[in-house]
Symmetry: C2
Subunit: 188 residues, 2 copies
DNA sequence: GTCTATACCACGATAGAC
DNA sequence: GTCTATCGTGGTATAGAC
């Protein structure tokens, strides 16, 4: 009974390595040998934890969703939904340097996995959908009837700023867009 | 002297096929065999026109720039710079179904080629930069001192809407964003 | 559960006949 | 200029000893 599933550590090492590499290089450009090396695990052993490469990216998509849920839980400590959205914007501001280097972790996967692979594309979209739903909920709490539209607008402006910041290597594009979003929110 | 360089047709067939496939599937996911087949050219012959796969995507980047220049030339028939930007928005509205299926042709390449390949990433960024510069020029013609910032804002909102429309398979995200951009422009 | 060796295939690129 | 055949590499995935 003791330690029925103890070597989950290795599995975690693999998902962490994969998450980093898929983000930095993209899914297609990352080999399982890369992941194994970064995780300090022999290549052959990867297949004990993940039958296919697809199932590995599937696992990191689940991780990303859980990471969002954990952050959202913190943001929801604010009473005012407007402050919750402000906390969400703070997170985006804090990650601007990373995003300028490698793009949006979620948006990048959505774009790449939607290119051909309908199965994985849908699962990547589910992660972004989680962002959408949460932001929508905040606008609803603010009593806005057009919460869904406002949410799409907020996320689109951030996604676009992240893509341009990444393309032009300029983190200020993100900062300036976030300032505008804050003004727009404050005026509501 | 007659027909000194007549078989440029085959080269054009190859770049057209590559442009379509890189857009639909991404650069990394498209093999030269795919391109050759789509163009109706035997695989080995591809290398007569393009020494490497990189030089092929390089050529289609040049094409995309030329395609933009040709469109911009049309838009500039409008006297009022605000109308020129309106024509640019019309183009985006017209391509919303295509973008919903496969994402932004320029943004997609910028994201993918910026992931690892610094050389090609810069060249892809140059295409988006061309959009930026043109939009900036219109805002300058409108007498706006913050033309560069306004341009980044306009393009970011469109890029973000395109990414979300593609992710969620919903072209209306693009249309709604374009309506807002038009209102924002009209109020200037 | 772990790791080595390897099967198998697809890709980019080249050689060389025509 | 065109096309076939193929080389070499590197990828996913598996077999099987430990």
């Amino acid at each position: 009974m003791a330690q029925s599933q103890p070597p989950q550590d290795k599995r975690t090492d693999l998902t962490n390595a994969a998450q980093a590499l898929f983000y930095e290089q993209g899914f297609g450009a990352t080999s399982l040998a890369n992941v194994a090396e970064r995780a300090g695990v022999p290549l052959g052993n990867v297949y004990y934890y993940f039958k296919t490469k697809d199932s590995l990216v599937d696992a990191i998509l689940v991780d990303r969703r859980a990471q969002f849920d954990a952050m959202a839980q913190q943001w929801e400590l604010h009473e005012d939904p407007k402050d919750r959205l402000g906390a969400f914007l703070d997170m985006n501001e804090a990650s601007r340097e990373m995003v300028t280097k490698n793009g949006c972790p979620v948006g990048g996967l959505c774009m790449e996995l939607n290119k051909d692979r309908s199965a994985l594309g849908t699962k990547a979209a589910d992660v972004l959908r989680r962002y959408m739903d949460w932001v929508t909920a905040q606008f609803q709490a603010m009593g806005r009837a057009d919460a869904d539209d406002l949410s799409a607008r907020l996320l689109a402006s951030i996604q676009g700023a992240m893509l341009m910041a990444n393309t032009f290597h300029d983190p200020d594009i993100i900062s300036r867009e976030l300032v505008r979003v804050r003004e727009w929110l404050d005026a509501m």
